[in-house]
Symmetry: D2
């Protein structure tokens, strides 16, 4: 039966930033700065704030020192101050609200909530835009800063993907309460359980993914990956070439997703979090188009027929012990 | 002084199709079908309806036999049936309305209007989606049909660019009455005359361009170009390679625009209309971002420094006699 | 211990063509013509002769109807008529000569020989160059014909790879008697058995490959693949995209070889023969450089870490029954 | 009348290195190291020696501090020690020999000569290969070092192009005495004067160019450009993107040459010397193929129709005063 989204409300404008937790914030920052060519906008306390050369906001990535890797929070910008109040009130009413925070470097007050599995989300409106010194400005007016020589510089944040024991509940919360649009679903045959959901605030193939975590019952709220955008496939292949000889883990690809059509590869940052590098995909302009649905049994995980490696099954951050299904805690540090 | 758009109203969802007039509809259709790999959705009367492999609607290009080349009309889809009524009423009130038509192949009733310089625009909601026989379906669920072997197939319609004697008036009508968003402007120094405007219904760098026509006073309402999207720069270079040895005019490029950052080239279809092939560009998600403004004197028409050929100055369809500034009429045909 | 080639003798100039056997010559020819954009130079008897758009000789591929797929012969051009006589005499003396043939469409008299495992090789000097009618000529003087609109046109023949039960014997025959240069070797650990050898007549990474056939003892002289060259990776990805939705088998890739560095994918033509599509690689100009040696245990079969699919083990043409190791014969046809 | 090369003698194996003179060796070295990703093999006296990541010899570029920019010398490696002696003796006999030098960093004794217009050439055999510490080695056996993260790293030296008042004399000397092969010629209509010659030691489209210098009579022996190779067009476009915003001059392109088919752009290093970045082109394996000849009047300088900028006419290093045709000397430095 064909599924549709509820009417569009235009309350969210874009995925704005993601906070990653890492047990080695300096090494993680070095990876995003040196290899992926991101700019450091600020360093404060245990956190480093970074942006891609093609972005407009203060940061799209916040790295925070933490005993275990994983996601700190994801953050959407609303389409205006009223939209922020509207959504905050509705989330509050849903029981999933966590209340307001004063803001952070780069943005003003924000409303926090949790997904049914405990991932922390955030909404805000007031934002600080990138201001670079004159010598770092671009002569291209549509760019907030000039293009970067260093590494293989990502252009911008593209999406974040959460791990969930019950994809459908998380998706329905994000769709019905947070007002994201469901673009594509993969369902397990003969049930309404979902393996994977692609959602967006706007017209992009997806800026939010939710995927099934086989260890989600015992280790809820884990993180699957963050994805950055390149304009060309060649940049993704250059990162892959570099990984090979520079001892940077390349987990999968470059190849093409079957869903979303994105050309991509998965790499791993020093803190252990998966990072996707992607380009391509599609735009979805139609408010009334059915949700694209796949069956898990019908294959097509990649467009060119490659299988995802068996090792990736259930792999996310923080890591779990596959025997117990529990998060692997770091050894206690004694003074 | 920084310029801003009015608050977003979310009434338009996408540029849906463009009608080109051509004195040789068969040759034009052959060009789009054979070289640019478009599919023919229908042929009716003097018109041929085509679509790209990555599109969802019945057609994005309508070719119509006509004594002179140029644009028949451009057409936006609204975000819903109410949005269509709202916009129709407002355009009617502005005095630029032309009234309702019953529709056309591929879409339902539509409201027509003219820009201040006489270009015909159209808005509609009800649309016919592509339905292909099973053997032409893709196993990719997000695709309405499979990928194409023929020629160098364009993925989808990207934008249309109008010629105008007074860019600002046309832009303000499209912005204030039709509800398009102004993304980038090039202004002549020391005046508020505009050389070029990039506008969009959504988040794309632009789906509507308006550019200054030096012959606009004597030959109003001319057409500059239609643009189709490819996923990669290599496809645009392959078309260029083919043009070279297959006697297809290649007017300019491949190179990169300074405004919009699009990698592109301009080719000419047999009817004489300019066609742009493009990829890259940017997405503009922010409802409150200032309009990017350039001065005409500051250069940067292309990113890599190439100058537009002098011959392109004032070149559009229908063609004008540069001495008189009048449209060149075809010779009378005698029986 | 570092290995070197014998002094270079400059007797061979290039791999000129390969003859493939196919049980369905019409479908095979259609595949190479329609999808891989090759031109048909001639059809004679049970054979079709094809060339890539960037080639200079009459054909680089001969397809011949046969009960079983596989390779008919491979053919090198010598550097002159004396070089041909010299090599013919030396091969004759080695006992592997098969004698002279009068020639074929596109070339003059040729000397035939067999490798130690029975593959048929051929050497010739007199050659017929491509002559196209004026309307198919390129305005690029270095091209024998213009570029091709059809399919994803291969530029030229790149290499051929033989299956052998004992790679080293075949390689030493090709190196010491036929005068090919050994560029890279993969050896099994702790033995002098070779898994793979890359050889060339000239400076290319390889134009001849020899790889270990686990069924070589019971099914000698089998064929692994023929490879064609593209100028860009994007063309190889376009073929992959087409395979997906047009029911053309895509066996592996696109990805990058660890040896030779070639970006490639393996497809299968309708007759069952493996076809490699490749670009990149390197040039080897040094007459005194050691042979690059890898150990089979050291991995690196692909540059980005992907494993060759298990199903490819021992897969070549004609096919063998993995239980008996014998070639699978086609069913007898009764009138 | 079709022109042919003399029989091939296989005395030269490759263009090995080029010495550029620069008035600011530190800035020039920084440009090649930081932007073009070359490695510094050594610094000695007034010279810096660099190599690309895909090369095998100690250096392919020597930069030497000098009052004026231009070329110090170009250097070919022979196919062996006897080939070196043979060529030295023949050049000596031609009257263009300059005698032996002891060698330089990275290679052994070398024989020097001058072209008819005074460019210094060099031949050698003994060479020092790249040896990098273990942590900089590649796990790809065919690479002398690992791939580079820094800048947009060129793979290898591709060709050098000389300026000459009389192209034909220089070409005939290089062909008949130095044993280079003539691949392509552009001749002025109705004369045997040549505008451009493409030559090679081997099978590459060209590793040596000679092009007409309108100031060659008064400023003989000038330098046109050095060219480095990338594997992909995208890398050349990335350099162009960087030039735009990092104040590095981009003189022309990216676009495609009509002769040789190379995709390329011309940039200028801080010392003032033109540097070409290129990929594509063709291989020429046939010992008996006619020289490809173009007429200067027939156009086709670029494949896509772009004209070379008028400012490039006669532009090389050292620079000349177009009024006097004399080299512009630097101001005297007083203590």
């Amino acid at each position: 039966m064909t599924m549709y989204n509820p009417p569009r409300r235009h309350l969210l404008s874009q995925l704005a930033h993601v906070e990653l937790l890492t047990p080695c914030v300096d090494k993680s920052a070095e990876y995003f700065h040196d290899l992926l060519g991101m700019e450091i906008s600020a360093t404060e306390g245990d956190s480093v704030y970074l942006r891609g050369w093609g972005e407009y906001f203060h940061h799209s990535l916040k790295l925070t020192q933490s005993p275990l890797p994983g996601m700190g929070h994801f953050s959407y910008r609303t389409t205006g101050p009223e939209a922020l109040e509207t959504l905050a009130a509705e989330i509050e009413a849903s029981g999933r609200g966590e209340g307001w925070i004063d803001g952070d470097l780069g943005h003003g007050k924000a409303y926090r909530f949790t997904t049914p599995e405990g991932h922390v989300g955030e909404l805000f409106w007031d934002v600080e835009r990138i201001e670079v010194p004159p010598e770092e400005q671009s002569i291209i007016k549509s760019r907030a800063q000039r293009y970067i020589i260093r590494g293989v510089p990502v252009r911008r944040l593209h999406h974040v993907t959460l791990f969930a024991s019950h994809v459908k509940s998380t998706r329905e919360f994000l769709q019905d309460t947070v007002s994201l649009i469901s673009n594509e679903l993969v369902r397990f045959d003969g049930t309404d359980h979902e393996l994977l959901a692609m959602m967006t605030a706007n017209v992009q193939d997806h800026d939010m993914g939710v995927t099934w975590d086989p260890f989600g019952a015992t280790a809820p709220g884990r993180f699957n990956h963050i994805a950055f955008w390149y304009d060309t496939r060649e940049e993704i292949m250059r990162v892959a070439d570099l990984c090979f000889d520079h001892h940077h883990p390349l987990e999968f690809g470059p190849t093409r997703h079957g869903g979303t059509e994105l050309f991509f590869s998965y790499v791993t940052e020093p803190g252990g979090n998966r990072v996707e590098l992607c380009t391509g995909g599609y735009v979805q302009y139609e408010p009334d188009r059915p949700i694209f649905e796949h069956l898990a049994s019908s294959g097509g995980a990649t467009m060119w027929g490659e299988e995802f490696p068996h090792e990736m099954h259930g792999q996310g951050t923080p890591a779990v012990d596959p025997q117990t299904g529990l998060v692997i805690e770091p050894p206690a540090v004694t003074a």
